[in-house]
């Protein structure tokens, strides 16, 4: 998919604007080391970022990219090493020091206050530049027009979509006059078309002489946009390469020391026995707006149904409705022949629904409880966790040990607190827990988000094995490769409705992305089996 390679070579030649090629690098990092309790997040990092380029830093989840960027942005202080900006040594005590040196950061999780307006979010901390009133509004419009960001200063951030929020974040940085932009995993929540837009924006910035540091673990994207690539593995820099000289495969080897795991299903195990039947499901928000409208689908035994959609289009609400965590207005949910619409969450779980929540720390774990209590969580009515009204400590503990060894949870014991495990190990514990007790349906929201490739491969293996044993899976993911590779069938959700069925065997991420944004009315990309439903 690295078909934009040509574009890069052109732009890297036309770079070098007013600054001159021999000018000092925009950023140099020398021997950066950072330790946290129990882990060394970064050690001996060396990076040199040339001015007016897009410099990518790649590494898998947990390799230490984000920590490094926080150090560069003054949110963390390195234990060792030095930072040089524009040829001058720099010590950052806080983000304002970094901002003062012209560094700006677009965070992976947007740093926006929902209940404030775009204007308020942008001027916050930089009120000295143009005040907080009319002058600031003018300046925001100017920047927005200059870079084609299309930002409206008086809207509430709460009402903005993901792409809009990201553009506000970029504008925030530009407003402060930053000439070095750090973008932390900016494409994680974007569909391919939005990624293209973003990359167009980045090229625009580069043309204006700005430097972009682009952090990612998506190799195709990196190869298409970067002028130079630094690879980080287990907290340290292992290679620095010129994009045209490497392939995605080689990059993967540098990044994880092996091939990247491939999401794919082998022969179909789909049966004709329906496990989950959802018909005419409509859910309204407390304000009366429909967040899910007339949603119908069926998942069979041994089938993985993938659900694609831009974040905020009703997927989370669908999951909550199926789990019984959100009241439904009309429609019916049938699990293995029984109507469960009126059941509460516990009864549905007891009936055999496993649940891997989107946000494992908030919805999947008790962070300050030991692992064995987390094994009980969500299964506090079933053996071996309980006997009648009593918690069966011995039973739960023994079963936790089983999960820890069967699911390769790296931990020194089952009495450690969940918070002290890495993200990947937390997720493996959750997967192991939810697979226990022979579920008939697994609701998996972003099952491999933010985990390292080892855990990712392991979780995919487990899903494949469970599917072969007849598990029905509803999978939601923002990773389109995962969605296409791991689904037997694929549906697209837009504004609370299912708008298209696509065939995972033939669809490309670009086509899927079009369907997700409703572009081209999905006529050319999606199998239009149900396109009659795609009314808007």
């Amino acid at each position: 998919m690295a078909r934009k390679g040509e574009g890069i070579r052109i732009s890297s030649e036309t770079t070098a604007p007013a600054v001159g090629a021999d000018a000092a690098p925009a950023v140099e990092l020398h021997g950066i080391t950072k330790r946290f309790p129990g882990v060394v997040a970064n050690h001996d990092i060396d990076i040199e970022v040339r001015r007016g380029t897009v410099h990518a830093i790649v590494g898998e989840n947990g390799a230490g990219k984000s920590t490094l960027m926080k150090i560069l942005y003054g949110m963390q202080r390195p234990d060792e090493g030095s930072i040089v900006v524009d040829g001058q040594a720099a010590t950052f005590h806080s983000p304002s020091d970094a901002i003062g040196r012209g560094i700006g950061m677009v965070h992976q999780h947007f740093m926006l206050a929902d209940y404030l307006t775009v204007l308020e979010n942008v001027v916050l901390g930089a009120e000295g530049l143009h005040g907080i009133g009319a002058a600031a509004r003018r300046r925001i419009k100017e920047i927005s027009d200059q870079y084609g960001l299309g930002v409206q200063p008086d809207r509430m951030v709460e009402d903005l979509g993901v792409g809009d929020r990201q553009r506000v974040e970029i504008l925030k940085v530009l407003y402060r006059g930053a000439h070095i932009l750090i973008l932390d995993e900016p494409t994680a929540v974007l569909v391919p078309q939005e990624v293209d837009e973003l990359f167009a924006n980045l090229r625009e910035l580069k043309r204006e002489g700005l430097t972009v540091i682009f952090i990612s673990h998506k190799l195709d994207e990196v190869l298409s946009v970067a002028d130079w690539i630094t690879v980080i593995r287990r907290g340290t820099t292992v290679a620095s390469v010129d994009p045209p000289s490497v392939t995605a495969r080689e990059l993967a080897h540098l990044m994880v020391g092996s091939e990247l795991p491939v999401p794919e299903l082998r022969e179909s195990t789909v049966t004709d026995q329906p496990i989950l039947q959802v018909t005419g499901l409509t859910v309204r928000s407390p304000e009366g707006r429909a967040v899910l409208e007339d949603v119908s689908f069926t998942i069979h035994r041994g089938e993985v149904l993938g659900l694609a959609g831009v974040e905020g289009n009703g997927q989370a609400e669908l999951v909550e409705a199926i789990m019984g965590m959100r009241p439904i207005d009309t429609g019916e949910i049938v699990l293995a022949g029984k109507t469960v619409s009126a059941w509460d969450t516990r009864r549905r779980r007891d009936a055999g629904i496993g649940y891997i929540p989107e946000d494992r720390q908030r919805h999947g774990l008790l962070l300050e409880a030991p692992l064995w209590e987390n094994r009980v969580l969500g299964h506090q009515t079933t053996r071996p966790n309980v006997k009648g009204p009593w918690i069966d400590r011995a039973g739960a503990r023994a079963d936790t040990r089983r999960i820890v060894s069967a699911y390769d949870v790296r931990t020194p014991g089952i009495d450690v607190l969940a918070s002290s495990l890495s993200g990947g190990n937390q997720q493996k514990l959750i997967v192991g827990r939810e697979m226990s007790g022979d579920p008939v349906l697994l609701v998996a929201a972003h099952p491999t988000r933010g985990v390292d490739v080892g855990a990712q491969a392991f979780i995919w293996d487990q899903l494949r094995a469970a599917r072969a044993n007849g598990l029905a899976v509803l999978m939601i993911s923002a990773d389109l490769d995962e969605l296409i590779g791991m689904s037997d069938s694929l549906k697209v959700m837009l504004r609370g409705r299912l708008v298209a069925d696509v065939d995972p065997q033939t669809v490309t991420p670009e086509e899927l992305g079009s369907a997700m944004t409703g572009a081209g009315d999905s006529a050319d990309s999606a199998d239009s089996a149900e396109s009659g439903e795609a009314t808007q």
């Binding site: 949110m75 965070h107 204007l119 901390g125 009120e127 009133g133």
Partner: protein, 419 residues
């Protein structure tokens, strides 16, 4: 500089939150007076709109409103402050102590300082040490009471008129009146005319013999609005209550703003306390605050974390409090009729909006209140004493779900620990 007005987003968001504009607010106030006038004529409870009641309500609303402002400052920066009561207690004592020695103005300042010291403690515990906000607040309430009890023994015992639980009498602030209004309004009020006399009574209460302290307190409400919503400082402070991580990432020193906010919060509560001892009672007495810090907090919640709303809430509680002092049984009884009428109005509104179920519930509630109202002539004194508290409970249970508090309110925050 930063005072440049930004009317666009503000009006938009305020309408979003409450659907209120100045016109509808004024209309609502007029309607309320009209209702009160009807109730007065029906029940003969003249005190419900008299100048005396209004003046008392204003005086009683001041400490509640100051505590509410304190809550607003703190919670807008993300720190829940249930320690307002303790800070208010510190304010009553410090105000009385300084007021006794150096006069009322010194008392005002000392009240603010005393409250701010309580706020400082709360900030240390919650901001620096990350203690649960409610827990810290409870501890400060205990400490505030203990400290003042101890200090009273040292400072007031043996002074003329003082004892271990109360201060000597204090000198009051001067009062002001709008010249030339009092007498004509008084004449009008005495006529007992429908609506006209009610308006006259209310206006007279608000413009005659008003303490300078009250004036200052009233001015602090719009001043707070200006500072928090129209200045860069205010934006930064509020951002700490909405998304401190975002604020930090933009170079805002979140700890600093939280400290300032919580100390200001304490100072406001302390001013409210000083008002109680210097103006309202003219003496410091143990237990003088009687939970007004908590009611202030409730007024702020009722006001949806906004200055104008909390002023309305404080006014409501001040009014119910005032009624029970002025022929309480009869006046509060008359208030029942008002409640019934308002419920009927609500029912009509629901019916127009096409919500028959809500309308029916409102009619039912109105009927219940009415049934209580008809056969009785008065409400027992013990019940009138908690009228403001019952009102708080009822109002919150009707409105709590429509309110929107700052998004990160009450959440512990630690520097550099974002996502």
């Amino acid at each position: 500089m930063s005072a440049t007005l930004a009317p666009g987003p503000e009006t938009v968001s305020r309408q979003r939150l409450t659907g209120l504009t100045w016109q509808t607010t004024a209309l609502g106030a007029l309607g309320l007076i009209l209702l009160l006038s009807v109730v007065r004529l029906v029940t003969g409870a003249d005190d419900i709109t008299s100048s005396g009641t209004t003046a008392a309500a204003l005086g009683l609303a001041v400490p509640i409103g100051m505590a509410g402002l304190g809550g607003l400052w703190s919670e807008r920066a993300g720190v829940v402050n249930i320690g307002l009561e303790g800070m208010m207690i510190l304010g009553t004592w410090c105000g009385a102590w300084a007021g006794y020695h150096w006069g009322p103005w010194a008392g005002l300042v000392a009240g603010a300082v005393g409250g701010a010291l309580g706020g400082l403690l709360h900030a240390i515990a919650t901001v620096s040490f990350g203690v649960d906000h409610i827990v810290s607040g409870v501890a400060i309430n205990i400490l505030g009471l203990g400290v003042t009890q101890f200090l009273s023994v040292l400072a007031f015992e043996g002074e003329p008129g003082g004892s271990t639980t109360q201060s000597p009498p204090l000198k009051d602030f001067p009062t002001v009146s709008l010249p030339g209004l009092s007498d004509p309004l008084h004449t009008l009020e005495e006529k007992g005319w429908f609506f006209v006399s009610d308006v006259a009574g209310i206006l007279r209460g608000l413009t005659t013999n008003v303490s300078l302290f009250t004036l200052i307190a009233v001015i602090l409400v719009p001043a707070t609005f200006f500072v928090l919503w129209r200045t860069a400082f205010g934006l930064r402070l509020r951002s700490c209550g909405e998304n401190p991580g975002a604020a930090e990432s933009l170079g805002v020193n979140v700890y600093k703003y939280k400290y300032i906010a919580v100390m200001a919060s304490g100072a406001f509560a302390g001013i409210g306390g000083a008002f109680l001892s210097i103006v309202a009672a003219g003496i410091y007495r143990e237990g003088q605050t009687a939970g007004r810090g908590f009611i202030g907090l409730a007024a702020m919640i009722f006001g949806n974390w906004r200055p104008a709303g909390l002023a309305a809430g404080a006014g409501l509680f001040g009014y119910t409090d005032a009624l029970q002092l002025r022929r309480g049984g009869e006046s509060v009884h008359a208030l029942l009729l008002l409640v019934a009428l308002i419920l009927v109005a609500v029912a009509i509104w629901h019916a127009i909006r096409g919500r028959p179920k809500a309308a029916l519930i409102a009619v039912g509630a109105a009927a219940v209140v009415f049934v209580i109202f008809i056969p009785t002539n008065s409400v027992p004194g013990q019940f009138t004493s908690f009228a403001p508290h019952l009102a708080t409970l009822l109002v919150l249970s009707i409105s709590a779900q429509r309110l929107r508090m700052p998004k990160a309110d009450g959440r512990p925050y630690r520097r550099g620990e974002q996502h």
